[in-house]
Symmetry: C3
Subunit: 126 residues, 3 copies
Amino acid sequence: MPLVRIDTSDEWADFEVRLIGDAVFKTLQEVFSVPDGDKFQVIGRHALCDLNIASSFHGMEYSNQILLIQITLNEGRGPELKKIFYKTLVQDIQSVVNVRSEDVIVNLVEVCKENWSFGNGLAQLA
Amino acid sequence: MPLVRIDTSDEWADFEVRLIGDAVFKTLQEVFSVPDGDKFQVIGRHALCDLNIASSFHGMEYSNQILLIQITLNEGRGPELKKIFYKTLVQDIQSVVNVRSEDVIVNLVEVCKENWSFGNGLAQLA
Amino acid sequence: MPLVRIDTSDEWADFEVRLIGDAVFKTLQEVFSVPDGDKFQVIGRHALCDLNIASSFHGMEYSNQILLIQITLNEGRGPELKKIFYKTLVQDIQSVVNVRSEDVIVNLVEVCKENWSFGNGLAQLA
């Protein structure tokens, strides 16, 4: 159910973005109890001219290896669980690739459960 | 008003993704009563290494020709109408290209009507 | 906090999409009071075959230089402020590049403030 978009620079190698994606999925399973197989991820690696990002915000400094992780998922997780998610996500990604913790940016977009079809024209969660 | 993102592999040809997009628009018109001309679609064809998708979920098996169709649209359609949309969408896409029904994944993101501008700096629906 | 996706054709040059992105950020700051440094933009320049857009809608005529600007941001801005945003956005973009006002399409997606992490695994706005 989560649809994950990971946008970053083209400085990451194929195997690295795959590791990052799998780490995101691991955290989704661990913290948000996403079921097995519920992995739908689109990775966009961009030339630097197509990433227009400030060098710093909220005391963070960003590098060319910034990861913009936008996750569309079902509503219902509370603020405290989301905080655990962000913290765990950084740890899980850092356990597989070399990335600065400041470079992990996350945005959640919440939808209701009838807003998904996982194939065969069915609304599997409704 | 619907902004449609179709993300898939680069195994689809130019004319095929255009047919798929037009089929999505046909279903939006038929089931969700989207007006003529309300077609705004961005198609992303990705190398397989940039699509990180489980091979199966909810009893579905996915292939390299999986279509991830994310549609941002106005709120207000009920669950039953959405179910009809998913079912019709698969039929409409299959009427123009050869795709497995399991490979059609849909996600709806709903917004309110003042969240659109279709040009000239106006909020045409507000 | 706003995550901005600008999708357009590959007819725009590097420096032009950067100017457009910076104009979007200027308007976000002016009208929506977005703070300094809160600039997270992903620009997608596509071959025309991957942009499936009707030639006209709501009396607008669209060209190959159409800009699809999707902005995920915090909820809370009212309809009147959004109208000012759309109007100002066109002016700000036109002050830096040559674009038809009809070609500026905007969609806002609103989320709650705990749905962001800007690095270090923190929910900075929650």
